[in-house]
Subunit: 320 residues, 2 copies
């Protein structure tokens, strides 16, 4: 039987890049996306694609598609990326992350009750750790006290997937992402800064005091790491922090980079007094990526380099 | 304004004992229970009780009650005990723990959006840790890979509550329970063994090989510990493993105790070959309770003593 991989959220920023990276490894790629932020055109060059334009929480519809596809393909891998990616919106209205993140994970599993995939690869987040202050965060850092509903529903999904595979032969690989940057950008700090500067280059308003510090990774590097790791998994359940080799960059450095590219010598940057951008924003975190390195990943990756490359890429995207 | 505490699942085994223990500390106690396992009669001696016979997931109904009560009382403490307590049922049908555990936590928070309580005290479980083999489990043990949907939805609730309080002044105290025994029993291993023996004392069938080993605590001791701890909390979020001083007892010892009380010298005990009672059963776990002790709890508590006392209590309950 022909081999397939299913990517949920596959028309989004990370998902579309992932599909392109996986296209040669499978006979068929299947994408589920409701196109809320994603776009079908991001995938136009992919030949072996079956596109399902549906909200993943619509169990009955999704189930019908998957049942039908499983008569033709062995869906070996499920990459589960669907989530609400707008963190502040989920703090204001808890229904958003519940429905768009957690209940989607729930519905997805339900669709695979009959024929579970060999591997479920889940896009989790540093947000599951909550605010750990200056601690270096590794995969065993605990207790987990998320401070945004985004992080809570990612953790809830991890837990649900972990329990769900118990009655199957499936393996679960959880990747806890840092901030990921690149194109096609649909949201995020660089995207926001550039859009504002393109509208008005006289000044840039930053949420928070600019001293929020986080690690950043280019989407291409993230995908390379994930594909590298997923082939070497031995345990039934595995979790990896994915991040660059450094401790990250300040938001003020991102603002300056954005101004260099989309502003001019007159652009003023305005900060707020508070140390975080919004309720639920983790002002700083540092990843310990030794587990990633011990698994064999040796390429050095820099946050500021990622920011500089992504800012140029996104500027070009927005200008076109 | 008069002070109140709300106990969800307050007509159940642990909840009804908790309400009795709290009755003198508050002007009013409020119990929400759908009476699926609990009974109103367990609370008949409690004078200052307002009983709401509703399923906690019925947001609109519960909200109406809470809004009305908050015009008369300051609901300072919310003890959230509602959950599906039948672990195997939730492995077979994931909707059960989703609805009866997680979505109840979600609905509860939503009811308190306007006037959050000072403290939310959540009855979590050792099941959030999954199967950690021979490791001694403390509150920082990780990663958390629950193997039952019961454990997953407890962890999801922890995460949700943690994120929800971020925008409030509330504190969150998470207690991760061991196996809790006593009366009025509504479920559990002792209850099952005794019911079977009362029906037929010739033989007792045990799920698993009898070598599952877990810590047990009497409900009265659990409640004393929780009330002791909740007064001494300084952090916004806190988590405690609650357990006895020892590593636990074997299921075969519980079976023997049950036979001593409800069987006779002829009773044979039959075991299965497998090391766990059902899919999702954690065959053994050991709690590190040093955090509990460092917080000032010094009473030594024994699992086998808890089993012996509870078996007598439950036998009397079932005989009456």
């Amino acid at each position: 039987m022909k081999k397939a991989a299913l990517i949920t959220g596959g028309a989004g920023f990370i998902g579309s890049n992932l599909i392109k990276a996986l296209t040669k490894s499978f006979d068929q790629l299947i994408c589920i996306d409701n196109l809320s932020r994603g776009k079908k055109e991001y995938l136009k060059e992919v030949q072996n694609l079956h596109f399902i334009n549906e909200d993943l929480s619509n169990y009955n519809e999704i189930k019908r598609h998957i049942d039908q596809l499983q008569t033709q393909f062995e869906i070996d891998e499920v990459w589960h990326l669907v989530a609400n990616s707008d963190i502040p919106s989920g703090v204001a209205n808890a229904e958003i992350d519940l429905k768009d993140t957690f209940l989607c994970s729930h519905a997805l599993c339900k669709c695979f009750e009959k024929i579970p995939p060999k591997k479920i690869i889940f896009a989790s987040s540093s947000a599951v750790y909550g605010d750990m202050g200056d601690a270096l965060i590794d995969e065993k850092s605990a207790p987990l006290f998320p401070i945004s509903n985004y992080g809570a529903m990612k953790l809830a999904s991890e837990a649900y997937l972990s329990a769900w595979i118990e009655k199957t032969k499936s393996k679960l690989i959880i990747f806890r992402f840092p901030n990921v940057v690149g194109t096609p950008a649909t949201h995020g700090v660089i995207y926001d800064f550039l859009r504002r500067l393109i509208k008005d280059k006289r000044s840039l308003q930053v949420l928070g005091n600019g001293f929020q510090m986080k690690p950043y990774l280019l989407c291409d590097d993230l995908i390379q790491i994930m594909i590298f790791l997923k082939s070497n998994i031995k345990n039934k359940r595995e979790v990896f922090n994915i991040g660059p080799s450094d401790a990250g960059v300040f938001v003020k450095d991102i603002a300056k980079t954005a101004c260099e590219i989309a502003g001019d010598s007159e652009t003023t940057i305005n900060y707020e007094d508070n140390d975080r951008g919004w309720i639920g924003d983790v002002p700083k975190f540092k990843y310990d990526i030794r587990k990633l390195q011990q698994a064999g990943w040796s390429k050095e990756l820099s946050s500021i380099k990622a920011i500089k490359i992504a800012t140029k890429q996104i500027f070009n995207q927005l200008k076109n």
